[in-house]
């Protein structure tokens, strides 16, 4: 019994470590993708200098990888590690050190409940690939991810300096404003999935994904919900056009102005981890997760190969979404702070409410229709 438990624990810890490293490296490469895409959009080349000694010697592939900047995240990470650690004299040391951790931990915690594939064994029994298949998946995600704002607020406040402080204030206001719209925009999804006669069950994310198998993706069923969710997601991840906490032009660097070296690196990675997790959630909720295409059954056979292909498909969708995040960032200008607030409270929130009520009525009507 104990041995079995120990084995279970060891397995889970291994899984967790693998997942953390995968998500972190995806976050790292998202940074690279951001730099590359932005460069291409601006007619530039982007990072193309870093290289590993042996790989560069390989003909064709070496220079190709170098031009792609594939080793840049490594160099960036090392740079953060080896930079001189500067702590301004006026900061509140405890919270100053705490806040990067507070920023990163929620971003990584949310992925525990995030399913990224499924495994069907020989008996036809299907298990979702997830660290913790919690029934209340989406609630857990909302609960944890909104803790991320504490990192930012703490960082802004503990820096004891005006620009970070303003960044922190803006960030907290923005998070609170858009969390509402975000929550309200996913409710119709669960209403729809859990409506009588539907296949879904509870708030589990895996079941939502499975409810989209072989049928329409939810983005097609509820495009408006998806749109609201996407906008709110941009705001929650502090991506342009909603990057109020940073807004380099008016707040220098926003909440992380006083941060340097590795602590800044953690903030930086946390932000991209948010983007990665956010994209994954959107894929789960609206883009059919690891399933192939709307109305098309998965072309791969069940088993290890099938589930790996499913995970790959899931990642591909997530990457497309990450690209979309980047694409929007380098297209749109930043909103003014009052515009952000106005959009959140006066536009998105009412729209989300209307959307919710519309689907409540629709689901009720359909329920009545199917009952009669």
């Amino acid at each position: 019994m104990d041995a079995e438990l120990m084995q279970m624990l060891a397995l889970k810890v291994t899984y967790a470590l693998v997942m953390v490293s995968v998500v972190m490296s995806i976050a790292g490469y998202t940074v690279l993708a951001e730099r590359k895409v932005c460069a291409w959009m601006q007619g530039r080349v982007g990072p193309n200098r870093t290289v590993l000694p042996f790989i560069s010697a390989i003909p064709f592939i070496g220079p190709f990888l170098r031009n792609l900047g594939l080793f840049q995240p490594l160099a960036d990470g090392l740079k953060f590690l080896f930079k001189e650690e500067i702590v301004p004299g006026h900061v509140n040391k405890f919270y100053y050190y705490l806040s990067p951790i507070v920023a990163l931990v929620p971003a990584l915690t949310t992925m525990t409940v995030l399913p990224f594939g499924e495994f069907t064994n020989a008996e036809g029994f299907t298990t979702p690939l997830v660290l913790a298949n919690v029934d209340l998946g989406i609630l857990f995600i909302f609960a944890i991810s909104s803790l991320g704002v504490y990192g930012i607020v703490l960082g802004g406040w503990s820096s004891n300096s005006k620009y970070p402080f303003l960044g922190g204030i803006r960030s907290s206001a923005q998070m609170i404003s858009y969390e509402l719209a975000m929550g309200l925009s996913v409710l119709p999804v669960f209403l729809w999935v859990n409506a009588p006669g539907m296949t879904g069950s509870g708030l589990s994310l895996a079941s939502i994904v499975n409810s989209q198998e072989g049928t329409a993706w939810l983005v097609l069923v509820q495009p408006f919900s998806a749109f609201l969710f996407l906008v709110a997601l941009f705001a929650e991840t502090n991506r342009l056009p909603f990057d109020m906490p940073e807004s380099e032009t008016d707040l220098v660097g926003g909440f992380h102005t006083e941060y340097g070296s590795f602590k800044f690196g953690i903030f930086f990675v946390a932000e991209y981890a948010h983007v990665v997790i956010g994209s994954a959630i959107f894929t789960t909720l609206f883009l059919g997760g690891w399933h192939f295409l709307p109305w098309v059954a998965d072309p791969w056979a069940p088993g290890w190969i099938g589930s790996l292909l499913g995970v790959g498909w899931f990642l591909a969708k997530t990457f497309c979404l990450i690209f979309f995040f980047i694409w929007v960032r380098w297209t749109l200008p930043r909103f003014r702070y009052d515009q952000v607030m106005k959009l959140g409270w006066a536009k998105l929130l009412p729209l989300a409410l209307v959307n919710l009520i519309f689907y409540m009525i629709l689901v009720t009507y359909l329920d009545q229709a199917s009952a009669s």
Partner: protein, 181 residues
């Protein structure tokens, strides 16, 4: 007289007020840019082509016979707006066969590149066509002293440029063949 015309701004339509079509067209623009030719110049390996009349680092040049052209008239020192040039004038000894008739040459010639603003006035004012702002645009150093170019460095950077006039050579032939006293 200037007339002021007040242009009425058209009220925005509903689609315009959502900004969504505009955002979409913006996304289209940026996306199409992804595949355009890149303009980046890979600097240390690729060098930009220097246009004619480019004003790089000021240098001193020698005439095609490898002789010093500057006579230390100090006009460049005078005209230099940031006072980057400093010349110590000197004599050419009388026993210098080739150049004693020029009489004067700089003993030291310093250009402080931390002060230089690359305006090219020195080149413009030089009556001997001895100072030129050539194509060298990249200069660096580890100390302030290193960025003060002395005479030796200025000649090294300047090299030799073709000379249209050979003013002093003419003078010498005058001396030999002309109405010598």
């Amino acid at each position: 007289m200037i007339k002021t015309v007040v242009m009425e701004r058209k009220p925005l339509s509903l689609s315009e007020r959502t900004y969504l079509p505009q955002i979409a067209s913006g996304l289209k623009t940026t996306f199409s840019n992804l595949f355009k030719k890149k303009v980046t110049l890979q600097y240390p390996e690729q060098r930009p082509s220097i246009p004619r009349g480019y004003r790089g680092v000021p240098t001193l040049v020698k005439d095609p016979n490898g002789r010093e052209k500057c006579v230390s008239c100090q006009l460049c020192e005078f005209v230099c707006p940031p006072k980057a040039i400093r010349i110590t004038p000197g004599h050419i000894p009388e026993d210098d066969e080739e150049r004693s008739h020029v009489e004067k040459a700089p003993e030291e010639f310093e250009i402080d590149m931390l002060r230089c603003i690359y305006c090219g006035y020195c080149e413009e004012v030089c009556p001997e066509e001895a100072i030129f702002l050539q194509e060298n645009y990249s200069l660096s150093g580890y100390s302030r002293e290193e960025l003060v170019n002395d005479k030796e460095k200025l000649y090294e950077m300047g090299g030799t440029l073709p000379d249209k006039h050979f003013k002093w050579d003419k003078k010498k032939t005058d001396e030999e063949q002309g109405n010598a006293h």
